[in-house]
């Protein structure tokens, strides 16, 4: 792995590639030229070796897919080094991390610290969310304006909902002063007190307390009203139920400025994955019923859901090797983001470019990042992948201390062959 933070120099020609750029709708055989950290040219005129300028280093893409590096709009940072490696091995070149770090990202100095540490590592580009409320306590607003100036790209209390309606209304309203977006974890906490998985037959059989799907839509419907009332910019994180998607579809239809995303577990798995108390499948929000999973697929296909985030949440073995009720929620997702998202394409629900858009230009647009496009003048953040190549997810091989992939053992299709950040090769699979 050529990970370092030295600037790349010189010209590189990526030839003989299937260029896929959801931002411009480009899908053609061609090539791409980078100069240092920047894309300088892209198109069918660069398909062959002879098209490369003299002196350029030539990378033959072997006819595989070259697309913008993936943009992941929600990860938990955990151990930065392992997370950054997991990211680039999954083709993710930009990621936005939740503020539920220790210390919480509710202060300018922490924003700068996170970004600086990631820059130093020179792998994935990490952008922080700022906290909506001080200490994620849900009571007093954090310094949204100052945090934004320091580099926070949007605001959320992470996996805690801003539960108090008054606080949420003020957050939306105040953030709108500066044109900032509030991202809500959609769950009415008073309805989920002892819940550890989706409410329903499986929870009843296992003797576990359920989180009713209504807890999600209740919060979404409330927040849509608050966004309407305040003129604030609302984004709903990881929607997981059919009713939630309907509520957002209706809100969008009424012209309210609301967007949403989901994560791979919610369109690729359902609550049956918990089986006999499998804690890797304990997530927040919880895995839902099969009808909900199908509704999420539909919401992605019809455009109601604007983006896919990995929800990457690394957990050490000690916090998962516990009785289900005590185990920490969350699953890893960076390494499997591309392959699991591609299932939407392989299963015939969406075109390849449409799937890629959900993990590149769409989240980049929502977060206001200069990323996710194969366009001259943009950063040379690239991923080369084979959408057909099959592999089996092996949690032990995902690297780092954490192994908590909800997709452990799943056969998937879509392998990253090369990952480039700012013109530098940061990942190439070994033999």
């Amino acid at each position: 792995m050529a990970a370092n933070n030295e600037k790349s120099s010189g010209t590189v020609a990526y030839i003989n590639a299937r260029l896929l750029d959801p931002a411009s709708g480009l899908d053609t055989i061609g090539g791409l030229l980078t100069e240092g950290e920047i894309i300088t040219d892209v198109g069918p005129g660069l398909a062959k070796k002879k098209d490369a300028p003299k002196g350029a280093k030539v990378v033959d893409c072997g006819g595989k897919c070259l697309s913008p590096g993936l943009v992941d709009m929600r990860i938990e940072i955990g151990d930065l080094a392992s997370t950054a490696e997991a990211a680039v091995s999954g083709g993710v070149t930009s990621a936005v991390c939740l503020p539920n770090t220790d210390p919480v990202i509710d202060d300018m100095t922490v924003v700068e610290f996170v970004a600086r540490r990631a820059r130093k590592l020179g792998l994935v580009k990490v952008y922080p969310y700022g906290a909506v409320t001080k200490g994620l306590q849900g009571r007093e607003l954090a310094e949204l304006g100052l945090l934004a100036e320091a580099g926070a790209v949007a605001f959320t209390d992470g996996t805690k909902a801003v539960a108090d309606a008054q606080v949420m209304a003020r957050a939306l309203s105040y953030a709108a002063t500066f044109g900032l977006m509030i991202v809500q974890h959609p769950e009415e906490p008073s309805l989920t007190a002892d819940g550890v998985m989706n409410a329903g037959e499986t929870a009843t059989r296992l003797g576990l307390f359920g989180i009713p799907p209504e807890a999600e839509v209740i919060m979404i419907e409330r927040d849509v009203r608050l966004a309407e009332m305040t003129g604030g910019r609302l984004h709903i994180a990881h929607v997981s139920t059919a009713e939630s998607i309907d509520a957002i579809r209706r809100a969008k239809g009424r012209g309210i400025n609301v967007t949403c995303d989901t994560a791979p577990p919610y369109f690729a798995l359902n609550e049956a994955a918990i089986g006999d108390y499998r804690t890797f499948a304990k997530l927040s929000p919880p895995l839902r019923a099969e009808d909900d999973r199908q509704a999420v697929v539909q919401g992605l296909a019809d455009g109601t859901i604007d983006a896919i985030a990995s929800d990457h949440t690394p957990r050490d073995e000690e916090s998962k090797r516990l009785p289900f009720e005590q185990a920490a929620p969350g699953g890893m997702g960076l390494s499997t983001l591309l392959a699991v998202a591609l299932e939407l394409h392989h299963n015939g629900h969406m075109g390849l470019l449409d799937v890629l858009k959900l993990i590149t230009s769409a989240p980049a647009g929502l977060m206001g990042l200069d990323a996710g496009a194969l366009i001259a003048g943009r950063p040379a953040d690239l991923v080369l992948f084979d959408p057909e190549q099959g592999w089996k997810v092996d949690a032990d091989a995902l690297g780092g201390k954490a192994k908590n992939s909800p997709f452990d053992g799943r056969p998937v299709q879509g392998r990253v062959l090369l990952c480039v950040v700012d013109g530098r090769t940061v990942f190439e699979p070994g033999e």
Binding site: R205, L208, G210
Partner: protein, 320 residues
Amino acid sequence: MKQDGKDKVQFPHRHLLGIEGLSPEEISILLDRSESYVDQNRRADKTSPVLHGRTIINLFFEDSTRTRTSFELAGKRLGGDIINMSVATSSVKKGETLIDTAMTLNAMHPDVLVVRHPHSGAVKLLSEKVNCAVINGGDGSHEHPTQALLDALTIRRRRGHLSGLQVAICGDILHSRVARSNIHLLNTMGARVRLIAPKTLVPPEVERLGVEVFHDMNDGLKDCDIVMMLRLQRERMNGNFLPSVREYFHFFGLDYEKLGHAKEDALIMHPGPMNRGVEIDTDVADDVGRSVIREQVEMGVAVRMAVLELLVLDSSEGDG
């Protein structure tokens, strides 16, 4: 090593973690074996050396007097060495994890671990980390298999069979592992199960387990053969499930008036310990003609002897 050669019966599972998934034949094997121990337990000499030299550890992460005592007695009557470990005296309170506790005990080569734990699924998790047989002595709100077996034995001895009987399970279904194990067992054996409880104490989609749900005692008890009352788990009530004990008893406590809707010879059961005047009227509980509550306790020892024997002897077969 075949000590009891020709009447050796097979129970084809390493552990007893729950009733769900057991076949009618497997349940019958356990019940039939229990019958022989009922007789043994009524003799002057109640012991047989079936588990001589075997070690049984009662590992209780949650307070229990009767289940623990019942297992202890069962192990002793079979000639086994039985040790009680409870949370208060163990290292669990010092922050040792469940898995570490399991591994530590496993290193002492027990033959059986009887485990009770406040969290659903914890006994199953523990069973994956040890080499011996594990008996679920109750896990969270999930299952309590030996309770369901002793209830079934009690009913079978009184009625001769389980199939076709109409059984009502009444009270705090939501928090009850006893209810879940009984639902699975009674359905598997061909009985019909009704649940009677206020809506706040019925778990979501419980109908899919194959039961009928009632919210009125008089309707639900109509023509029932068996009335199983559950303990109102007040210690687990951290919400607003009920407005008051007085109101609960008025609508859902078993008294003679409500019992009048069941069959005239309906049996009254309770897994204990009872809250008299909360879920059951004292006179009903003590009605010698109808209440089989003390008989359930007796059957409990026999059932646990049978389970211990079948699991231990099966596993030693496996060892070759």
